[in-house]
């Protein structure tokens, strides 16, 4: 059972990869297993999150389930 984290923009550089498969469970617990620098970057206020393609208005209480994809979206830089 695993979920996938997707990192966009500069977060990909911080993570060193564009996506990462993680264990399911509460997001807070998942973040605690990551490199602290990456976890801090992901928690920045300006970073938005989308769960399975749907933007979330807030990220409190996210619990990742099997097959979920959670994307971390830093501010866009314009087309």
């Amino acid at each position: 059972m695993s979920a996938r984290l997707v990192f966009l923009g500069r977060l990909e550089d911080v993570a060193g990869t564009s996506q990462l498969d993680v264990a399911v469970g509460p997001l807070q617990r998942v973040l605690a297993t990551l490199d602290p620098n990456l976890a801090v970057a992901l928690l920045e206020d300006r970073v938005r999150v989308a769960l399975n393609g749907a933007l979330l208005s807030e990220r409190g209480g996210i619990v990742l389930e099997d097959g979920d994809e959670l994307a971390f979206l830093p501010p866009v830089s314009g087309g």
């Binding site: 923009g9 500069r10 830093p74 087309g79």
Partner: protein
């Protein structure tokens, strides 16, 4: 078809697209279009746009729908590139066909301003052998504020 919205990973062919769009809307009184290209900035060798599949194209389609609702248009074309580009390459092409020119100009500008500030693209440029992510520009937020 009034709405043609595409996200391309291969080059845009602006002349062919504009010709096809005009042919598709022979009854329109006018067509306003905007073509964005990779600027030739000193030292910049390449530009890369990244998108996120589940959000980027759906967001472009929703934006096009807003423009179609707000102005009286015969047709609207929105084509945006993703991937690696070089100076002079086309990044974005927007064209609006309308009975009257003001609707066409306004719709094309509205779509461009929103694409620049709100669409789900992340951009980085290659200069002096290294890639650097581009941060949002203040001007883009000012540009969008006037449509509220």
């Amino acid at each position: 078809m009034p709405r043609d919205v595409r996200l391309l990973t291969e080059p845009i062919e602006p002349a062919a697209e504009q010709f096809a769009f005009a042919m598709a809307h022979p009854a329109a009184g006018g067509i306003a279009s905007f073509l964005g290209q990779v600027r030739c900035d000193e030292g910049v060798e390449a530009l890369e746009l990244r998108h996120y599949g589940p959000l980027t194209l759906p967001g472009m389609e929703a934006l096009a729908d807003q423009a179609l609702e707000r102005w009286d248009l015969d047709g609207l074309l929105v084509i945006h590139r993703s991937g690696r580009m070089f100076p002079g390459d086309a990044i974005v092409l927007v064209a609006a066909a309308a009975r009257h020119r003001r609707d066409a100009f306004a719709a094309a500008e509205f779509v461009m301003d929103h694409l620049k500030s709100e669409s789900w693209f992340w951009k980085r440029e290659l200069a002096e052998g290294g890639w650097r992510w581009i941060e949002p520009r203040r001007q883009d937020f000012d540009d969008i504020a006037r449509w509220n």
